[in-house]
C-alpha cells in the first residue's frame, strides 16, 4: 500500500522511545536533556498510559517519615521481596537513586502530599520496613505521568524559544503502533509502524530505540491491565534478537473482580479483607479454614468464632485465614474453583456486607464502595463481590545491562520499566514499580544518549522497509480467515486456566501445545473493514505479541521446577536454593521461543554483608553463603 518509497512517511531521530508511560517519558526527558532529538511513540493518547492506574505510591528511602531509612534498607527489602532472584545491581541502583528521582519530579512541578515539616509524606506498604512511599492520595501514578508530560511540554517550550518550533527536538507521536524494530548490520536502525487513526505506515530511522511498553496483562483473561498491556515491547525485543529474562514470574493479586464484566480484573484492595470481608464458595462454606499451611497454624484462627472475635480483640485471638499472604489466598481460591465450588464466572464470593453495616463500609472503604457502585452498579454494602486472582504485573522482561538499560545482545536497543526484567526478581514489592520506571527510565535515556554519540546512524534499506510493510498488509489480503477477537479470547482462556497462578507440569505442557496451535491459526487472521482506526486490525498485531509472550511464559514456567514469588508449581512446592542461582532466558529463533538457564550474577561483598547470614541461609546454598559474596 505505502511501500511506494516517495509516499512513505519518514522520520529521522536520534532516539526513538516506544511507550509513553512513566519509563518512556523519563527516558525521553533524559535523552532530550543530553542534547538529542527524540521521538516518543504512544499507542494511545499522550498521558493515558497504564502508569496512571498506580495508586499506592513510589518507594524511595528519603527518610522523611523515619530517618532510619536509607538505600541499604530499601535494597534489602527489595531483594527479600524478590526472593533473591533480583539482579543485585539493578536493585542497588534502584534503591540508591530513587530519592533523587522523586525530588527531581518535585522540581518539575509534582505536588506530593506533605509531612508536618513540609517534606514529602511517605506511607507504609507491604514488604517495606519503613514508611517509604511518596504519594498523592490514591492517584500517585497519575501525578507521575502528568508531571513528566508537563516536563516534556516545558522542554518543548524551551525549544520553541530557541528554534522557533515546539516539536523541533522532541515530538510525541500519539496513537501509533510499532510493529517492528528494524536492524541493519546487527545494529538498531529504526522502527516501523502505523498510525492507528489512518492506518497509514510510518518509518522511523534512529540509531537507538528505547522500549518502555509496560506489561503483558492482556495475555490473561482476568487482569488489572488496560488494553495496552499486550506485551508489545517484550515481543518486539524478542524479534529484534534480545532476550527475555524470567518470564515465568507474574504477579497475581488474589482478589480481582471476576464479575460483572464491566469491572473484571479490577483490584479489590486487601483492606476489604482486613475490615472483615469473608471468602465463601458456592456452597456457602467459608473455605479459607481448610487452607491454613502448617507454618501459619499458630497465627491464624481455625474456627469462625475465633476469627470473628479477632476483629474486636486482636491480642487474644488469632487472625482470620482470609488475611493469609497473597499467594496462599490466591492458591485457595484457585483450588476451590478447580474443585467446582466456584461461581460460574470462575470466582468465589467476597462478602463484607455480612459483618459490617452500610455506614461503616462507606466510611472505611469509601473508594472501593464508589468504584463498584459507579463502575458496575454493585453495592458492596448489600451484596457479595465475585473475586478471583487477577494478573497484575510481570516481573520478567527484556534482559538489560543494569547501568545503561541496554538490551543484552542488540547494540542500540534499550528497555526500561515493566518491560525490562531483573529488577524485581521473582516478586515485586508494592511501590517499587513507580520508582523503578523513574530510575531506569533515566538510565535508559542516558545509556541511549551515550551510545548515539559514539555511533553512526545506519540508513534503513528498502528491502527491510518492504518486508515490514508486507507484514502490515498481510491480514487485509487474507479472506475468510480467523477472527482476532475470538483467537484472543481463546488465548486468554488457555493462559488463565493453564499458565495462571497455580501451575503444574502437565497443564503447562498442554498450554504450550495450545498456544502453538493458536499461533499457527493466527497466521491466518483476516481483518474486515478499512485501515482507518480499525480495532480489529490493531488487535491482529497485538495478538501476535501476546502469543509470543504467552509462549515464553509457559516455556519458562515448565522449566522452573520450584515455587518462588510469582511462580507457583503445585508439583514442586517450596523454594529450591539451587534454582535461585539461575535465570531463565527466552530467545526467539524466528520460529519459536527457546528457553535456557543462565547463571545469575552474584552480589559483591559489600552488598552481601548488608544481610544477616542466617537470613541468607534461607535462600542460598551453603556453598554460596560460605563464599560470602563476590563476582
Amino acid at each position: 500500500m505505502t511501500t511506494d518509497k516517495s509516499a512513505l512517511e519518514r522520520h529521522k531521530y536520534d532516539v526513538l522511545v516506544i511507550g509513553a508511560g512513566g519509563a518512556g517519558l523519563r527516558a525521553a526527558v533524559e535523552a532530550r536533556e543530553s542534547g538529542l532529538r527524540v521521538a516518543i511513540i504512544c499507542k494511545s493518547l499522550f498521558g493515558k498510559a497504564h502508569t496512571v492506574m498506580a495508586e499506592g505510591g513510589a518507594a524511595a528511602s528519603m527518610g522523611n517519615a523515619n530517618s532510619n531509612d536509607n538505600w541499604q534498607v530499601h535494597f534489602r527489602d527489595t531483594m527479600r521481596g524478590g526472593k533473591f532472584l533480583n539482579h543485585f545491581r539493578m536493585a542497588e541502583l534502584h534503591a540508591k537513586e530513587s530519592p533523587d528521582r522523586i525530588w527531581e519530579l518535585e522540581m518539575w512541578g509534582a505536588l506530593f502530599d506533605r509531612t508536618k515539616e513540609g517534606k514529602i509524606s511517605q506511607r507504609n506498604f507491604g514488604g517495606h520496613e519503613y514508611p517509604r512511599l511518596a504519594h498523592v492520595g490514591d492517584r500517585t501514578g497519575l501525578e507521575l505521568i502528568r508531571t513528566m508530560q508537563q516536563k516534556i511540554v516545558a522542554l518543548q517550550q524551551a525549544d520553541k524559544r530557541e528554534h522557533g518550533d515546539y516539536e523541533s527536538h522532541i515530538k510525541v507521536f500519539a496513537e501509533l503502533t510499532i510493529t517492528e524494530i528494524l536492524k541493519e548490520n546487527g545494529k538498531i536502525a529504526g522502527a516501523y509502524g502505523y498510525w492507528r487513526e489512518s492506518g497509514s505506515e510510518v518509518l522511523f530511522e534512529a540509531p537507538a530505540v528505547i522500549i518502555a511498553t509496560g506489561g503483558v496483562g492482556k495475555t490473561f483473561k482476568i487482569t488489572s491491565n488496560s488494553w495496552e498491556g499486550t506485551g508489545d515491547g517484550h515481543a518486539l525485543a524478542l524479534k529484534a534478537g534480545a532476550n527475555l529474562v524470567d518470564m515465568e514470574f507474574l504477579q497475581f493479586h488474589p482478589t480481582g473482580m471476576v464479575w460483572p464484566p464491566s469491572v473484571r480484573g479490577i483490584l479489590v484492595t486487601e483492606s476489604v479483607r482486613g475490615e472483615g470481608g469473608i471468602l465463601t464458595n458456592t456452597n456457602g462454606e467459608r473455605f479459607m479454614f481448610k487452607y491454613i499451611p502448617d507454618v501459619f497454624k499458630d497465627k491464624y484462627a481455625d474456627n469462625e468464632a475465633e476469627a470473628d472475635r479477632w476483629y474486636e480483640d486482636q491480642d487474644n485471638n488469632r487472625r482470620p485465614p482470609e488475611l493469609l499472604p497473597r499467594d496462599e489466598v490466591a492458591r485457595a481460591i484457585n483450588s476451590e474453583v478447580k474443585a467446582g465450588r466456584g461461581t460460574e464466572h470462575g470466582g468465589v464470593f467476597l462478602d463484607v456486607s455480612k459483618r459490617l453495616s452500610a455506614e461503616i463500609i462507606k466510611k472505611r472503604l469509601p473508594s472501593m464502595w464508589h468504584q463498584f457502585y459507579e463502575l458496575a452498579g454493585v453495592d458492596i454494602t448489600k451484596e457479595p463481590m465475585e473475586v478471583g486472582p487477577t494478573c497484575h504485573y510481570v516481573m520478567g522482561g527484556v534482559e538489560v545491562e543494569p547501568d545503561t538499560a541496554a538490551a543484552v545482545g542488540v547494540p542500540g536497543l534499550y528497555a526500561a520499566g515493566e518491560v525490562a526484567g531483573g529488577m524485581h526478581g521473582s516478586n515485586r514489592l508494592g511501590g517499587n514499580s513507580l520508582s523503578d520506571l523513574l530510575v531506569f527510565g533515566r538510565r535508559a535515556g542516558m545509556g541511549a544518549a551515550a551510545y548515539v554519540k559514539q555511533t553512526t546512524a545506519t540508513p534503513v534499506t528498502d528491502a527491510t522497509i518492504a518486508a515490514a510493510a508486507a507484514r502490515i498488509e498481510a491480514p487485509f489480503a487474507r479472506s475468510g480467515g480467523e477472527n482476532s477477537y475470538s483467537l484472543h479470547a481463546e488465548l486468554q482462556e488457555v493462559t488463565h486456566n493453564l499458565v495462571g497462578i497455580i501451575r503444574t507440569g502437565t497443564e503447562l505442557k498442554d498450554a504450550i501445545e495450545k498456544i502453538a496451535d493458536i499461533r499457527k491459526r493466527s497466521a491466518n487472521v483476516a481483518v474486515s473493514g478499512g485501515r482507518k482506526f480499525n480495532p480489529g486490525f490493531h488487535l491482529a498485531f497485538d495478538l501476535d505479541n501476546m502469543l509470543l509472550v504467552a509462549e515464553s511464559t509457559a516455556k519458562s514456567a515448565i522449566g522452573r521446577e520450584e515455587s518462588r514469588g510469582g511462580h507457583t508449581r503445585d508439583d514442586f512446592p517450596g523454594m529450591n536454593s539451587d534454582w535461585r542461582q539461575f535465570n531463565h532466558i527466552s530467545s526467539f529463533d524466528g520460529n519459536q521461543v527457546n528457553v535456557r538457564k543462565q547463571a545469575l550474577p552474584f552480589m559483591p561483598k559489600e552488598l552481601f554483608d548488608l544481610f544477616e547470614v542466617e537470613e541468607l541461609k534461607k535462600y542460598m546454598t551453603p556453598d554460596e553463603v560460605a563464599k560470602g559474596g563476590s563476582n
Partner: protein, 252 residues
C-alpha cells in the same frame, strides 16, 4: 440477567456519517463501554472507539451519551430505562476522525501554550518545603484525567469554532490556576496572560465544565472564578486603580 438493548451509534468520518441502530445484549452491571465492545466483537469489527483503563482513571473513552458528554466506562446501562434507546455519538466540539473517535489535538496544542512551572532559581532538589494547606488547592486540579469533557462541553468553542484560536478552555484554566496557586511557582504574569492570551475573559461561567467533570473538580468555583478575581486584582480593582491614579499623578 442479560437483556437486549437498543443502541444507536454514530458511524462515519469527517466526510459523512449518521446514526445506526443496533440491538445488543447487556448484562447486569454493565457500562456503556461494555456494550460498545460487544457490538465491536460481534457485529461491527471495525467500530472505532477510544478507551484504556476502563476504570475512570485515564479519561480516554469520552463521548456523548444521549447528548451528554460522559465517560463511557462510568455510565451504567441501568441508568437508562428498559425501553430507552441509548444514543452514542462522538464528542461534538472536535473534528471527527472515525465513528466515536475525534481529533483532540486542539487540547495538546493548548497545553503547549501554557507556560510551565517555574521553581525558584536557587531551589535545590530535595530542599523544597511546602505545607499541605498550600498544596491542596493545586492538588485538586492535578486530579484532572484529561478526558477533555469540559473542553467539549464548553460552548465558547463547541458552538464557535473560530474561538479555538484565542481560548484555552477549562482544562487549561485549571492548569493556570494550579500554577498560580502553586506555593513555589515564581512566574509572575500568569494572571495577565490568562486574560490577554488564553481567553479567560471569554468564559461566561455557565458552569457546564463543572457539571461534566468525572473527577468532580470544581472547575468554575475553584479555578476559573478565582482566576477571574485575580485578574480583577491586577486590572480592575477599585483600590488599586485609585492607588494607580495617585501614582500617575505624582509622576506627572
Amino acid at each position: 440477567m442479560a437483556r437486549k438493548i437498543n443502541l444507536r451509534i454514530w458511524r462515519g468520518d469527517a466526510t459523512d456519517g449518521g446514526l445506526q441502530d443496533v440491538q445488543v445484549e447487556a448484562n447486569e452491571g454493565e457500562v456503556v463501554l461494555d456494550v460498545i465492545h460487544r457490538v465491536q466483537a460481534t457485529q461491527m469489527g471495525d467500530l472505532a472507539v477510544r478507551w484504556n483503563c476502563k476504570a475512570g482513571k485515564c479519561g480516554s473513552c469520552s463521548m456523548e451519551i444521549n447528548g451528554k458528554p460522559r465517560l463511557a466506562c462510568m455510565t451504567q446501562v441501568a441508568a437508562y430505562g428498559e425501553d430507552e434507546t441509548i444514543t452514542v455519538t462522538p464528542l461534538r466540539a472536535f473534528p471527527v476522525i472515525k465513528d466515536l473517535v475525534t481529533d483532540v489535538s486542539f487540547n495538546y496544542k493548548k497545553a503547549m501554550e501554557i507556560p510551565a512551572y517555574e521553581p525558584p532559581k536557587d531551589l535545590k532538589p530535595g530542599e523544597a518545603r511546602m505545607e499541605q494547606v498550600d498544596v491542596e488547592r493545586s492538588q485538586e486540579f492535578r486530579k484532572c484525567i484529561e478526558c477533555f469533557l469540559c473542553q467539549n462541553t464548553c460552548h465558547v468553542i463547541r458552538d464557535h469554532e473560530e474561538n479555538k484560536k484565542s481560548f484555552a478552555g477549562p482544562r487549561f484554566f485549571i492548569r493556570i490556576a494550579e500554577l498560580d496557586m502553586h506555593p513555589l511557582d515564581i512566574l509572575k504574569n500568569r494572571k495577565r496572560t490568562a486574560q490577554e492570551e488564553h481567553g479567560l475573559g471569554m468564559c461566561n461561567i455557565t458552569k457546564c465544565c463543572t457539571e461534566v467533570c468525572p473527577e468532580h473538580i470544581k472547575i468554575t468555583d475553584n479555578a476559573i472564578i478565582p482566576m477571574k478575581e485575580r485578574v480583577v486584582d491586577i486590572k480592575y480593582d477599585p483600590a488599586r486603580m485609585f492607588a494607580g491614579l495617585l501614582k500617575r499623578e505624582k509622576r506627572s
